[in-house]
């Protein structure tokens, strides 16, 4: 039997992640006031300057400050990530909810559909959707929402199916609760934390999808600072020795997604301590 005090032990990784994420979110939210950026400004007198004190991330081949633009890129990436993850959650929650509540044939058909859709190569589909809708912020969000809702549908459905067999639901029904009341007062409070966790875990995936599309030139317009666009620009600079132009935005996105993942894992342990006790130790 695992030692359960492990759940109370201080976790430096989670603390670091929380501090890092809070700081990043603050900087990203206040960026337009803190350090306004002119997206079209170039400074050809300081092209490809290596990282130094005035430019901690160096400058790119058009003399633009890499770290400054990366902060704005992160702003766009996180915005797209959160909005797209929410869209995917609503879609997945609806499908999973219908399957879990109605059960029976509807459930079987919907879940078989989800299984099959999960086998589709989603980056290729995402590329297709964006290419046909014309690249842009909206197209990227649609592309992510349509390809990333499956896991949420599965989670919601399986949660509802387990909950339905629990005695307190029977008790509520015997007590004369209407369907709506059972759903809103008894089922939803139990499912919502899991949905929130699934949404959080979805954000890094949405962010990667966005950066991948932008990197391929299918995301945001090239002059706008976005992590994918910047790494793509950096690909050119790499050949002239300016490695920092792609390293800095990449490091930023890695740090943020890692922090989200660490915190989400901590949250999952909190919701379901048994998993950790069984597998990790």
């Amino acid at each position: 039997m695992a030692d359960l005090t492990v759940l109370r032990r201080p976790r430096p990784a989670a603390t670091t992640a929380a501090i890092l994420l809070t700081a990043t979110i603050l900087v990203v939210l206040t960026a337009p006031w803190l350090c306004p950026l002119d997206q079209s400004a170039v400074a050809l007198d300081r092209v490809a300057v290596p990282p130094s004190l005035p430019h901690p991330g160096g400058t790119d081949d058009l003399g633009r400050d890499v770290l400054h633009r990366a902060v704005y890129g992160l702003r766009v990436s996180l915005l797209v990530g959160v909005v797209a993850a929410l869209a995917a959650t609503v879609l997945g929650g609806l499908v999973g909810g219908i399957a879990g509540l109605l059960g029976g044939v509807t459930d079987r058909i919907l879940m078989r559909l989800v299984d099959t859709l999960a086998a589709l190569p989603h980056l290729l589909l995402g590329i297709f959707i964006v290419a046909m809708l014309r690249p842009g912020l909206g197209a990227v969000i649609v592309s992510i929402g349509l390809t990333h809702w499956l896991s949420t549908a599965r989670i919601v459905r399986s949660e509802l199916l387990t909950l339905r067999t629990r005695p307190f639901i029977d008790a509520a029904i015997c007590g004369g609760a209407t369907r709506t009341r059972v759903l809103t007062r008894h089922l939803l409070p139990h499912v919502l934390p899991k949905i929130a966790l699934a949404t959080t875990l979805m954000i890094p995936h949405a962010v990667w999808h966005e950066t991948s599309l932008s990197f391929l030139g299918l995301g945001l317009p090239p002059h706008l600072a976005s992590i994918g666009n910047m790494i793509n620009d950096g690909q050119r600079s790499l050949l002239t020795g300016a490695w920092w132009a792609s390293l800095v935005p990449g490091l930023l996105i890695v740090a943020v997604t890692l922090a989200i993942a660490v915190l989400a894992a901590r949250w999952r342990d909190h919701l379901d301590p048994r998993v950790r006790a069984e597998l990790d130790l």
């Binding site: 099959t116 859709l117 589709l120 190569p121 980056l123 290729l124 590329i127 046909m132 991948s212 130790l281």
Partner: protein, 322 residues
Amino acid sequence: MIWRVVRRRLAVAVPVLAATSAGMFALGAASPVDPAEQYAGAAAFTTSPEVLAQIRANWGVDDPLPVQYARWAGNLLRGDLGWSTSRHEPVADVIAARAGWTLLLIGVTLAVVLAVSLLAGTLAAYRRGGLLDRGLRAGAYAVESMPVFWLALAAIAVFALGLGWFPAGGLTTVTATGVSAGDVAHHLVLPVTVLAISQAPWFLLFVRDSVAQSLRDDHVLAARARGLPGRVVLFGHALRTALLPFLTLIGTHLPELVGGSVLVETVFSLPGLGAVSVQAALGSDFPLLAAITLITTAVVLAANLATDLAYTAADPRVRIDG
């Protein structure tokens, strides 16, 4: 029994493929790009409206959508994949020339990933909490949060531009006159390694957890009690039972592998399907992009079915219903 599984799977897969293709076609039709003007290219500005109208009539792009879809889908089923508007050659030729390289990249990567994750994951599970276990898990979480194209650029910066050990891109040396196996292998080292590293965490963590669980099974305890050497217990008994769910994992993970190969091919300028579908997307080339997406989807669905069938064959206790 097996045939029933196949039939039931096809009963879902075929409608899904049909619906996907219809959805893709509707999206393509809603796209603001005029195929006739695109076909003419820059000449569209000097071509007379009558000629453009003639092209449109020839292609039937003004017919009602269902008619167009039926014609397109019918042609696809008869093996006529259409004409690539951005590359000005038959779609079938483009795919035939490139599918092999993508299959090679994905196949070699999958083999590397499987070999490494099975070995390392099992060893990590054996000494849970040990140095190897903690190192591998930390590495796996770190790699999982790195975009694969960024990893690829880092590999190019270090091993191609910095150390000069491997070429930065392409499939053959620029000066080479033909395609030689050694040259191709040399060019594939970096792309395969990058793709394998980016895909490995999933498999590695799965093997590790799965073996860790089966190490507690009674039959493993029994094997140990009989005095079998640790190596035999670990690989012959614990890993073997943990292997079964791994089979389905390969199937479910294929879409990720395809996505990764698109990005890796683009960074390393490999002449595969992934790179060409990105070019097709940039050129709004509906016939080429749609054909590649649909064919890849069909292949992945088939591979999924194959891994599930292998699972049923390997474990008689399992009954896949449907």
